[in-house]
Each structure stands twice: as structure tokens, then as C-alpha cells.
């Protein structure tokens, strides 16, 4: 047996020796964070060996003294029948994501591409020997529908059955309407009331969100989200590209996304809406270019190499059976068109859903996430770039960073003596702080003088206020600010913000601010000319705009110029289902942007350095940071 001590209790697992700890824990429903793909290079799956015998994978026994030893779970196996390990919270892969399905769109014009025809076809006589197919065409023509019908054999079989046993009420034909033709999905007797549903998916690098939509009226019937299960293998885009280099790796990532993530969400949605897979007639998926390719099993190697070109930008549609999605086998699956290797269908969706092209003047749209895409729109022109900000705003890579889920500190305010208030999602004791609280902390600590402009803590102030803590490891000690005392936290451990965390935030915000400045400069314009600043992506909904401005992440524009649109990617997928004109518009939109590769712009580096300070270095009349002091 293996005893696993967790932050909030312990679990006893069946365990046989010689199995990797990561494999054991995954099987028992406690997956560790194996983001490097169990290659032993990251520290995601670290656990503490407390009791029992263990060995390295290559067979060597692990010698440890009386002290617990920290090892990587993917490189360690049990060597005795019983043992005890401690799995810290940061090493566990949570499987429930925060619900990020909210969005605002332009005024939708409900006209779904899935069309329903009801007709009763008179039996043909000898004088009029029409085929079933011809009878259907005649019936539709009588309703004014004259587009050619692209039948498949399997749909014809249903038509034959339905017309041969036609009840008095007639039959129903559900089809996917394109501009120049109709694609029949199913035919059934009109006595059977069947609903027609659509599935909208936002496939993010970290989180996948999905909606079940009633295509009769556009209503959202159910919402769900889940971590993209690909993170079990690799957590950032670059490592996923590496992982997909082999055919087996590519197929594995496709399966993790389609079967383990999307299909599992669909089951939840159907359950909630009490519907069956056969009722899903249309599917729209938006994501970044790499994830969109992986969803279709297309190779992504070329996106990882200069000049970062994808296999395709405008994805042909396919059927749900081909895509492996639990829906009607002939349902159409449409992946939203992308722009370039690092500008995906999610950004095209953001642009479409926010209607930014119709705005007068200059607008900037940013998706404050790991890839940090930025679009500058002016008079129908679009200039885009990706700044690779990294995951700090999602709480990753930060000592006590967590995702914006229940238990996370969402907002924090400081005064002269320290924390004056904090808001925990769902109430209760906090487990860590999410991106929005990190932004609050850095800007508030700077205003109150706890933090210098280059991210150095004023240790004297902290000590006299009783807020100083020492963190880090023995060989790399760190100064830290005490945000919540262990007595007040979920795990009983102090929640700290270290100088290293602050440096991570400064790098991420510098990348975004420098990206925006570089775009403005390339477009020959400046902040004073920007009329609208549109914030897309889940993080922006939690962000306090005042804190973000004080930090220097966002510019100090009049507040009525800011607009938060939420999950624009999901909005774009939703509109693809509910507006027939969405897809052609998205296609047209995806061809407009001019892509700016930031590494080809020498000013970017200069701006990046300029923006590393709080709020930024402009004019260089900022103050000296507090003098560093050795940690003893």
C-alpha cells in the first residue's frame, strides 16, 4: 500500500512495486503534473518520500537519511510493499477547470446553417415515376428551396426508409445549408420529435470550454469546461509541438483532446440537457493554430520551425464520424480559420465576436494569456503579433499561484500596514492567489512603498510591519511578502509573494506592453490615438483595470475606452453555429491581418526592457529601488 499525504488529508492506494509513482497515482485518480511528458526535466511531479523503500527507474536504490527527500515522481518507483509519500498541492493536476464560458458578442442575427424542412410527399403514380430523391427535391422546391442537394448514400438510405413508411404528418429533413448547396444530415418521420442541437467548443491550450446550443432558437442549454487533457503530456505549446513530432505522439495528443476532453464534455452537456449524441447536428471549434491542427490530427512540426507556417489556414469541414466527436455521424464539424502559426482561429473569433472591424478610429484587442496575441485595427486594416507573455497571469510559475477557481484569492488591497482586504472566490480560506490578485498585489505594494519600481521588496518596511518571510530553497533563498498567515489559509501554510514571483509578473506584463507599443509604432500611431481597447480571454474578466494600469500592463486611457468581451473564442464558435454568414465572414476576416514577427523588430527588445519597471521606465525619472540585502 502507498500512503499519499495531501494538503487536506491522505489517501491509501493499492500499489505494486516497480511501477512509476506518476503511473500509480494517475491510475488511482490523483494525476501529478507531468507537463514535460515524464522526461524528468521539469519539476511538475515532485513528491516527498517520507517512509519506505524507493528506487530510481534505472534500478538504483534511493538512499535517504531520516529527512524526507524530494524527487520527481516520473523517475521514481516503489521498492517495498508499503510506503508513504507527500504530494504537495502544486504537483497535483486538478481536473476541473474554472468555468469560463461567459462572453458578449455583437448583436447576433439568428440564422443557423442547420436548416429543417418538413414535407409530405405524395406517392408517385405510373404516370409520374419519381425517385425518392426527386420527390424530395420537388417538395423543397415547393417551399422555395432550390439549392442542389448533395446526398450521401447513408442519408439516402434514411430518405428511402422515411418515404416508404411516410406517416400522414410527413417527414423531416435536417441539413447543413451552404451558400450553394444543402448537405442532408438526417431524415426521419415527422411524428418523432427530435431536437437539433449545436456544439460550440473553445479549445484553449489550458482550458477547453463547450456549449450546447438549441439550433431552433439559439438558446444555450448547457455549459461545461475542463482542463485540456493534453497537459498531462506537455503544458505549453512549444512542448506540445515537440511531443507531436512523431506520428504516435501526434495521435496521442489528438486523442487526449478529442476523446478525453471534448467527448467527455459532450457527455456532461448531453446529460444535463437530457439529449442524445444523434441530436448534435453541427459542431464549431475555435482554438489557437496548434490546438486546431491537433484536433484534426494534422502535423504541427512546421509551426515550431522558422517561418512558423501551419499546414493549412482555412480548414475544410469534416463529419463528426471522421473527427471522432460524439454527435450525429453526419454532423458537420467546422474548425475556425486561423491566420498564421501563432495567430489562431480563437483570435479570428475574438475579432468577429467583438465586431472590432466596424469600430471607428483605432482599436487594440488583446488576449492576455500565455500567447498574448495583440491586434491593432484601423479603418479595416489589421496588424497582429504574439508576445509569448508566458503563464504568470494564469497563476502558473508563481510560488503560490493558482488558477481562478474556488479558494483562489481573486483581489487584494493593501494599506500602510499590509493587507487591508482580500476577496476569495467562493469564500472561505484561501489556497493561493490567481492572476488578477497577483496584478493587484504588485501594483498595490508598489503604491504603498513595499515594492520598488524594479520589483525589489523594502525589507525594512516588511520587517517592521511583521510581513517579512524568507522563502526559497537553501541554495537560493528568496525574500517574500506575507500575504496570508498559515492560520488563515486552506493548507495551513503561509501564502507568500516572493521577489522571484514579482520578476515573473514584470516579464509577462513587459512582453504585453512592449508588444502593444511595437504595434502602435509600426502603425505610425500612439496611445493618444487609440479609441478602443478590447480585452478578450478569460483572465480579463477577473482583472481589475485600475490595478492593471498602475502596474503598467494596460495604458492609462480614459476608462470608457476599455471593453471586456470575455471568452471571444467561444463566442465565435457559438456564432458559427447560429449565424449562417459567420463562417464566410470569419474566412474573409482571417485573410486581412498583416502579421508582425516581433523578433524581426529591433525596438521590441528595447521596449521590453523599458516596460520591465512598475509602471515603466519612461523618461528614466523613476526612483532607485531599495538596496538589495543578502539573505542570511
Amino acid at each position: 500500500m502507498l500512503r499519499v499525504v495531501l494538503g487536506d488529508g491522505e489517501r491509501l492506494l493499492e500499489a505494486e512495486p516497480d511501477r512509476k509513482l506518476t503511473g500509480l497515482l494517475r491510475r488511482e485518480g490523483l494525476p501529478l503534473n507531468t507537463r514535460c511528458g515524464e522526461r524528468g526535466v521539469c519539476r511538475g511531479c515532485e513528491v516527498e518520500l517520507v517512509e519506505g523503500e524507493f528506487r530510481w527507474l534505472d534500478g538504483d536504490p534511493i538512499r535517504r537519511g531520516s529527512e524526507p527527500l524530494v524527487v520527481r515522481g516520473c523517475q521514481t518507483a516503489m521498492a517495498s510493499a508499503n510506503g508513504t509519500i507527500r504530494a504537495p498541492h502544486r504537483s497535483l493536476l486538478e481536473s476541473e477547470a474554472q468555468i469560463d464560458e461567459d462572453f458578449v458578442t455583437h448583436e447576433p442575427h439568428f440564422s443557423p446553417a442547420v436548416r429543417r424542412f418538413r414535407f409530405h410527399s405524395p406517392l408517385p403514380g405510373l404516370d409520374n415515376p419519381l425517385t425518392h430523391k426527386a420527390r424530395c427535391r420537388v417538395a423543397l422546391a415547393a417551399q422555395g428551396e432550390t439549392r442542389p442537394i448533395a446526398w450521401t448514400v447513408s442519408a439516402l438510405a434514411e430518405l428511402g426508409q422515411a418515404l416508404d413508411h411516410q406517416p400522414a404528418e410527413g417527414v423531416v429533413l435536417d441539413c447543413h445549408a451552404e451558400e450553394d448547396r444543402l448537405h442532408p444530415i438526417r431524415v426521419f418521420p415527422a411524428v418523432e420529435e427530435k431536437s437539433r442541437l449545436g456544439l460550440a467548443v473553445d479549445a484553449g491550450t489550458t482550458t477547453v470550454a463547450a456549449l450546447l446550443v438549441d439550433l431552433a432558437d439559439g438558446r444555450i442549454l448547457a455549459r461545461a469546461s475542463r482542463y485540456n487533457q493534453q497537459i498531462r503530456r506537455a503544458d505549453d505549446i512549444a512542448s506540445r509541438i515537440g511531443r507531436a513530432a512523431t506520428q504516435a505522439g501526434l495521435e496521442e495528443l489528438r486523442t487526449l483532446l478529442v476523446e478525453e476532453t471534448i467527448a467527455s464534455l459532450v457527455r456532461r452537456l448531453l446529460n444535463e440537457a437530457e439529449a442524445t449524441p444523434e441530436d448534435i447536428l453541427s459542431v464549431a471549434i475555435a482554438g489557437n493554430t496548434v490546438i486546431e491542427h491537433l484536433a484534426l490530427g494534422l502535423p504541427v512540426e512546421s509551426i515550431g520551425r522558422i517561418p512558423f507556417t501551419p499546414v493549412v489556414r482555412d480548414f475544410p469541414s469534416l463529419t463528426a464520424a471522421e473527427a471522432g466527436i460524439p454527435a450525429h455521424p453526419r454532423a458537420t464539424v467546422q474548425v475556425l480559420p486561423c491566420v498564421a502559426g501563432y495567430i489562431g482561429g480563437d483570435i479570428v473569433a475574438d475579432l468577429y465576436a467583438s465586431g472590432v472591424l466596424k469600430y471607428p478610429g483605432v482599436s487594440i484587442l488583446i488576449d492576455i494569456g500565455t500567447n498574448g496575441e495583440i491586434v491593432l485595427a484601423r479603418e479595416g486594416e489589421l496588424l497582429v503579433c504574439a508576445t509569448a507573455a508566458g503563464p504568470a497571469f494564469e497563476g502558473a510559475g508563481i510560488r503560490h499561484g493558482v488558477r481562478a477557481a474556488p479558494g483562489a484569492i481573486e483581489h487584494v488591497r493593501l494599506g500602510r500596514d499590509g493587507v487591508t482586504s482580500r476577496l476569495v472566490i467562493g469564500g472561505g480560506k484561501p489556497s493561493g492567489l490567481c492572476g488578477s490578485a497577483i496584478v493587484d498585489f504588485v501594483s498595490e505594494a508598489f503604491r504603498e512603498g513595499f515594492l520598488g519600481p524594479l520589483g525589489r521588496l523594502d525589507l525594512e518596511r516588511l520587517r517592521s510591519a511583521g510581513l517579512y518571510r524568507k522563502a526559497g530553497s537553501a541554495h537560493r533563498p528568496l525574500h517574500a511578502f506575507l500575504l496570508a498567515d498559515g492560520e488563515d489559509t486552506a493548507s495551513g501554510e503561509d501564502i507568500l509573494v516572493t521577489e522571484y514571483d514579482v520578476a515573473e509578473v514584470l516579464k509577462a506584463k513587459a512582453a504585453i506592453q512592449a508588444g502593444m507599443r511595437t504595434l502602435l509604432r509600426q502603425a505610425g500611431t500612439g496611445w493618444d490615438k487609440v479609441d478602443h481597447l478590447i480585452l478578450a480571454g478569460g483572465f480579463a474578466r477577473h482583472l481589475d483595470i485600475e490595478s492593471a494600469i498602475a502596474l503598467g500592463l494596460l495604458p492609462d486611457l480614459p476608462r470608457n475606452r476599455f471593453r471586456v468581451v470575455g471568452n471571444g473564442s467561444l463566442a465565435g464558435a457559438y456564432l458559427t453555429l447560429t449565424e449562417a454568414e459567420a463562417l464566410p465572414s470569419l474566412r474573409a476576416l482571417s485573410r486581412i491581418p498583416r502579421v508582425l514577427e516581433l523578433n524581426t523588430v529591433p525596438e521590441f527588445e528595447d521596449e521590453f526592457v523599458e516596460c520591465l519597471a512598475i509602471p515603466h521606465l519612461d523618461g528614466e525619472d523613476w526612483l532607485l529601488s531599495t538596496e538589495g540585502e543578502p539573505v542570511s
Binding site: C36, V41, D236, A238, S239, I241, G242, G304, R305, I306, L454, G455, R456, G472, R476, P477, L478, E499, Y500, V502, A503, L506, K507, A510, E597, N599, E605, D606, F608, V609, L612, A613, L617, E620, L624, S625, G628, E629, P630, V631
Partner: protein
């Protein structure tokens, strides 16, 4: 010779404009700018590097100081060339094939220059041939390679392979995803987790020229 405290502090605090002003004033007076470099600027940069290595300064401070340093060096460079200043040694540095990140690499280059080395900057996206050329044609005594992507890291293995026939040329690697274990695994001669450590690795592996 005494150091110029104002200049020292300006470099350490990353005050680019102050650095430029002080250096320019000295040049205008036809003062000894080389001395400013050696006695004030380089020690300041080294101090920042040391602090960084001890975990008392972070990337923002380091980059800001390096940029101020570079601004001053740009003014002094023409004089340096004229004076026939002798370097401690000569190394080449580049970001490996497929990698376009160069902010960290540039920082390492500045620190090495501050430590008295001549640095051939090969830029980004460098293949083995490019590094070999710097060694064979320009006489670099060590190869420094930077990678910021987990996907380009694997190219470092090819690089080490490409210098297998030159045991006299140490290959030193670094960059955010690179670890000491990885360096050992691929047989690189040296590794540095930051710019200060890069200087130590070069000092250890490149024999100082007389």
C-alpha cells in the same frame, strides 16, 4: 585610479541617460574614457551580476543595468578599437537553430564583455556551421549557445556533437529551459543558469591569454 561613484551608481541602477551624459562629458573633455569603463562601469555591471547570482537581483534590474552599460559602451567603443585594447580571451555566442530569442543571450554577451572578453555575437538561429566558422575563421576559444524553447534545446546536442573533434573548444550552454542535468546528459563542457554563471563558466574553461 578611483572609480567615478556617480557613474558606478548610474550603471548599477540602470540610468541610461545619466551613463550617457557622464561618458559624453568625459569624452568632450578628452578625458580617459577607458578608465571610466574599466574602473566604474565594468565593476558596476559585475556587482549587478554577482547580486543576481546570489538571488538578490532579478532579471528586470539586470536588463536595465545592461542596457545602460551598453549605451555607455557604444560611446566608448571607437576609442577602444583605436587603443588596441587587449581582451582576456575571445568567445562566440549565439541562439541555436530555430530559436529567435536573444534578450538573454545579449545580456550574457554584455556581461562577458564587462569581464574583459571579446565576444563574437552570431545572432539568432545559428546552426553548427555558423559556430564552427566563428571558431575556425575568427579564432573563438569557446562556443556559447542559448535556447529559450524546449523544442530548440535538443539542437544543443547536435552542437556538442559538431564539436566532438575539437576537444580544445568548450561548448557552454544556457537559457531558461536548460538545466545542469541536461548539459551533463548531452556532454556539454559548461552550463550557466544566468549571465553571471556564464562568466564563471568561461573563466573556468577558457585559458586566459597573456
Amino acid at each position: 585610479m578611483a572609480r567615478n561613484e556617480e557613474l558606478y551608481n548610474a550603471v548599477a541602477a540602470g540610468k541610461r541617460r545619466d551613463v550617457q551624459r557622464i561618458v559624453q562629458e568625459c569624452l568632450d573633455r578628452e578625458g580617459d574614457a577607458l578608465e571610466l569603463l574599466n574602473e566604474s562601469m565594468i565593476p558596476a555591471m559585475q556587482e549587478v551580476g554577482e547580486k543576481f547570482s546570489r538571488g538578490e537581483a532579478f532579471i528586470p534590474e539586470m536588463l536595465v543595468a545592461a542596457r545602460a552599460m551598453q549605451a555607455g559602451v557604444n560611446l566608448i567603443e571607437p576609442i577602444l578599437v583605436k587603443s588596441g585594447h587587449k581582451a582576456t580571451g575571445k568567445v562566440c555566442i549565439g541562439a541555436v537553430k530555430g530559436d529567435l530569442h536573444d534578450i538573454g543571450k545579449n545580456l550574457v554577451a554584455i556581461m562577458l564583455r564587462s569581464a574583459g572578453y571579446e565576444v563574437i555575437d552570431l545572432g539568432t538561429d545559428c546552426d553548427v556551421d555558423k559556430f564552427r566558422e566563428a571558431v575556425e575563421k575568427q579564432g573563438a576559444q569557446a562556443v556559447l549557445a542559448s535556447a529559450l524553447l524546449s523544442t530548440t534545446m535538443s539542437y544543443m546536442e547536435k552542437l556538442v556533437e559538431g564539436f566532438r573533434d575539437r576537444p580544445d573548444i568548450p561548448v557552454i550552454i544556457g537559457g531558461a529551459p536548460v538545466t545542469e542535468e541536461f548539459a551533463e546528459q548531452i556532454g556539454a563542457a559548461g552550463y550557466g543558469k544566468d549571465a553571471g554563471a556564464a562568466v564563471h563558466a568561461v573563466r573556468r574553461l577558457v585559458p586566459a591569454s597573456a
